[in-house]
């Protein structure tokens, strides 16, 4: 009897949340697959669903879930509400790889070179971080290092763009850097999927240790975990999940930052309870943003990174004002 009441006081039932999120995801997937821009009986309809829309929906979900889950894990690890996947420099390094593929013209010869090069670069920086893990015992310096690296890589990319002689790849690069879920093949998705899966599994397993880190580094150590213990699986997980999907879709901002904050209002703040919902919630957010992109009446398609930032930024400001939480005050 007591234990039932104790269980009730452990916050919202995460299973109920997962059920609602899954239902919404399914709803949007079906909506985006079947929404009849062409008639159902048009001979092109099956082709449109299987070859155009399904890969698009899948890549949106893969990227969104990787970003949402990574955001939740990183915020819990650094105990900082500003932490998000870009602080490990994964996205900026992936951009550098992609820019190189476009810059050198490799992409024109061999299209898979773009995701491959972007992924390779995305994994590079975390490898460096892993090698120097011993010299980091506190969380705050790491965030600063991440910001420094991201700015440095951003500057490198700008420099490359300046040196570019021909402008034909310039637009490609700029478009890529705003992120898009459109025009991906099953071959590309197959390339990304194993890395994504491994990353997601690694990240989902960190729940109990992240819970303990809420009590501060000293108490966490005396209760059996440490920043060092979580560092390697976390960095690898983020690099694999985000690095592989960013390589495919380009930089999609704000999902990693906003998703955990939205879900905290719903499932409470316990880090472990946030992991699964953030994975599903991030996927859902990406699907919805992509839906908005598709139905906006513009001449050229708006990039999804534009939509996530346009919706995400004001929403975050609203959250900060509305939530009377110590984290924000």
């Amino acid at each position: 009897m007591d234990s039932k009441e104790a269980k009730d006081s452990l916050g919202k039932n995460p299973r109920g949340v997962l059920f609602v999120l899954s239902f919404l995801i399914l709803f949007f997937v079906v909506l985006e697959l079947l929404c009849p821009l062409l008639g159902f009986f048009d001979p092109l309809f099956p082709f449109l669903v299987w070859e155009v829309r399904l890969p698009r929906v899948l890549s949106a979900f893969l990227a969104g879930s990787a970003l949402g889950l990574s955001g939740a894990v990183l915020q819990a690890y650094f105990r900082n509400p500003l932490a998000e996947p870009s602080i490990l420099g994964v996205s900026s390094m992936a951009s550098l790889g992609a820019v190189l593929a476009l810059y050198t013209g490799l992409y024109a010869l061999f299209p898979l070179s773009l995701p491959l090069l972007a992924m390779g670069f995305a994994f590079l920086l975390p490898l460096v971080f892993l090698a120097f893990a011993k010299s980091f015992s506190k969380a705050a310096p790491l965030i600063l290092v991440g910001i420094a690296v991201s700015s440095f890589v951003g500057a490198l990319i700008s420099l490359l763009l300046n040196f570019m002689e021909k402008n034909y790849a310039l637009l490609d690069i700029i478009f890529w850097m705003f992120g898009s879920f459109a025009d991906h093949t099953y071959q590309e998705l197959g390339l990304v999927l194993p890395f994504w899966l491994l990353g997601i599994v690694l990240l989902l397993r960190q729940g109990p240790d992240l819970d303990l880190l809420s009590f501060g580094v000293d108490t966490a150590i005396t209760m059996g975990t440490s920043l060092k213990k979580v560092w390697a699986p976390m960095v690898s997980g983020v690099a694999l999940a985000v690095g592989s999907t960013v390589a495919l879709t380009g930089v999609v901002g704000f999902i990693g930052l906003v998703t955990p904050h939205v879900l905290r209002l719903w499932v409470g703040e316990r880090p472990r309870n946030l992991l699964w919902p953030s994975a599903l919630g991030g996927g859902l957010l990406a699907l919805v943003s992509d839906g908005v992109v598709r139905f906006l009446p513009t001449t050229g398609e708006v990039k999804v990174g534009v939509i996530t930032a346009l919706i995400g930024a004001p929403f975050l400001v609203y959250l900060v004002k509305k939530t009377k939480h110590a984290v924000f005050s």
Binding site: A6, L212, T222, E269, R270, A326
Partner: protein, 222 residues
Amino acid sequence: MLSFHNINFSPVLRDVSGTLGPGQFVGMVGENGAGKTTLLRTLAGLLPADGVILLDSKPLSQWSIAGLASKRGYLTADPLCFWNLTVAEVLDVAGRSTLEIVAQEMRQWHLWPLRQSLMHQLSSGERMRVFLAALFMRDPDLLLLDEPLQHLDPLFQEMVLKKVHDFTRRGKAVLAVFHDLEMVRRWCDGVWVMQKGRLVAQGTPSQVLQALPVAKPCQLVE
């Protein structure tokens, strides 16, 4: 259970040695800055000090982090919870127990009515009680407590001291930092007096507290 020799942690600790046996409840006293917290953190394995620390005759450095976690418990002077968890969630995370025990422990520590309260809404004393409850739920063999009575009202101070006392009667050891010498006199089996980074006196409360003039500045502090 715990013995340490020639602990040095520059510039705070100088040649500190001592032993803590099973069933002992030792109170550590001393003025601010005497090195009490640093010694406690060193013994908990949180600071890399020079010297030998043996826990159950095994050097502290040879214990695994998980092994140590179930062997010794440690309470910081200002326990915190960064995210706004509920009381029940904190005990579920930190207590390593079944929900029955969580519920039972909440009743014992008078936390049951607060079980759904968020940590950031609690008073300092209530927060202290939550972390103390979690530590006792973990049931380690050695407890290192940094000012466990801080923020607690007299009723709960007595309750904590009684808990610690009963805990040591089960063959467990407790080393706790106190500022109230009267509490030490009434409840502890032994007293350690720290002064300027050295352990200057060890013994029973009656021996130590009467013999030493250092008792006075301790009383004045805070």
